[in-house]
């Protein structure tokens, strides 16, 4: 279990670094390609509750340290807020764990798509916090695409991530809900 948790942490860290080299999708009004959320959501489905919380803490903190400029004095989005932003969809995904433990590929695919649908929630929450801090709330088509675009991209990415991580967890000796390999 611990090796798989650590490998997820490394993969999430790597995905944040990899994101520096991915240009925004101009076709979707500059929406970002996000690899960290599907990795995180897989962790929420497969890991026990304490490790899921630990993964939330690490992912949220890394998200802010990598993505949010930490300006001097008052920051309108201080590092650490994303822990709470990730926690809510993470808990929703954790609620689907019994479904995940049935180990049927079609259920895993469905859960991957649910995780993709939850990705925009993270961006909506970030946008809401920024808007409240800057006391300026508005919506236009660019903002809508910036929120929904990563979710649409995740619809393609998340199943691939899920189908790669399942064998990885088995290789690392973590088989939740399955008999131990001899």
């Amino acid at each position: 279990m611990i090796p798989f948790f650590l490998s997820l942490v490394v993969l999430i860290f790597g995905s944040f670094v990899f994101q520096f080299f991915l240009p925004p999708v101009l076709l979707l009004s500059g929406a970002a390609i996000l690899f960290a959320p599907p990795l995180y959501f897989y962790g929420c489905l497969s890991l026990p509750f304490p490790l899921m919380l630990a993964l939330t803490f690490i992912t949220g903190l890394l998200n802010d340290l990598f993505m949010v400029p930490q300006a001097k004095g008052h920051a309108d989005y201080t590092a650490g807020v994303s822990i709470l932003v990730y926690l809510v969809p993470g808990l929703i995904m954790h609620g689907f764990k019994p479904l995940f433990l049935r180990h049927r590929w079609e259920l895993h695919w469905l859960l991957a798509e649910i995780s993709a649908a939850l990705t925009p929630f993270i961006l909506v929450a970030q946008y809401a916090i920024l808007s409240i801090e800057r006391t300026n709330f508005f919506f236009n088509d660019v903002i809508v695409w910036r929120i929904l675009g990563p979710g649409l991209i995740s619809l393609l990415i998340a199943p691939c991530v899920f189908f790669i991580l399942t064998p990885l967890s088995h290789v690392l000796g973590y088989r939740p809900g399955l008999p131990l390999a001899r």
């Binding site: 080299f21 500059g30 929406a31 390609i33 340290l65 949010v68 001097k72 800057r134 929120i147």
Partner: protein
């Protein structure tokens, strides 16, 4: 609920509160250390990207030359390729010459830096440059090119720094309009579909007589940006109920910057 779960939730909540209450300077240091740690990867990625960009640039030039060939119907392909390479070198040399002249003529101390990554975060416009505290860079120092203002340094590692770009909504700069008494605050946009969005000046007087093409310069208020740095040119002006708002085309092409300078201020 099991007692272990309650204990785990308690520890988690405590850690979250601890992180949220950390002083901003500590968070800046954490971010600086993180970027310092990954800077070798960013540098390698930037150099690979640069090489690939060179290849793409070369191909584009070849396309242009091919069109020229069709028009002139006289040059052969080998000669065109050689010309293309020379033109590439020439533009590189003239770009560096411009940067060097700007550095030599500048009355303030400038540290040259190369952009090593351009973050594609959803709500923030930042980039990472390849110089840091060992070069004398500190938070809140202005970053410029020979064309004008690029942004300001927010986080500093040993040899890497994060720059908040002028196109970001959270970077607000006091500005004056050349040839007028008008002053206002310029800021970027929260989300734009392009790399180089227009900027917006607020708090201008409603009766301001601004014409398209007028230069927008930093006013020097606040102590972060020296006065007189070019930000861009006025695109249009409209008077609202309480204030005048102008749209500004940035002087620096933020989509295509490679080399920048950090203005070193005496601490």
């Amino acid at each position: 609920m099991k007692s272990t779960s309650i204990a785990v939730i308690g520890i988690f909540a405590l850690l979250v509160i601890l992180v949220l209450l950390l002083p901003q300077s500590t968070k800046q240091q954490m971010q600086g250390a993180l970027f310092q740690w990954i800077s070798p990867i960013l540098r390698t990625g930037a150099s690979v990207g640069h090489e690939l960009g060179g290849v793409r640039g070369g191909l584009k030039r070849l396309d242009e030359l091919e069109r020229e060939n069709e028009q002139l119907k006289s040059e052969n392909e080998q000669l065109s390729a050689a010309n293309s390479l020379l033109k590439n070198l020439e533009s590189e040399v003239s770009r560096l010459n411009r940067a060097l002249r700007f550095r030599e003529q500048s009355p303030v101390k400038l540290i040259p830096a190369r952009i090593i990554s351009r973050e594609s975060a959803t709500w923030w416009n930042t980039c990472t440059i390849g110089c840091g505290s060992k070069d004398g860079v500190a938070p809140d120092m202005a970053v410029v090119t020979e064309s004008g203002l690029v942004g300001k340094v927010t986080t500093v590692g040993k040899d890497v720094s994060v720059v908040l770009l002028v196109s970001d909504e959270s970077l607000r700069v006091s500005v004056s309009i050349e040839g007028t008494q008008e002053q206002g605050i310029v800021s970027g946009t929260r989300a734009s579909s392009t790399y180089a969005p227009d900027l917006r000046i607020r708090f201008l007087s409603k009766t301001a007589k601004l014409q398209p093409g007028m230069k927008v310069l930093t006013a020097g208020a606040g102590g972060v940006f020296p006065s007189g740095l070019v930000i861009g040119t006025v695109k249009d002006f409209s008077a609202k109920a309480l204030e005048g708002i102008a749209t500004v085309t940035p002087a620096v092409d933020l989509a295509d910057i490679q080399d920048v300078f950090v203005i070193i201020r005496q601490q």
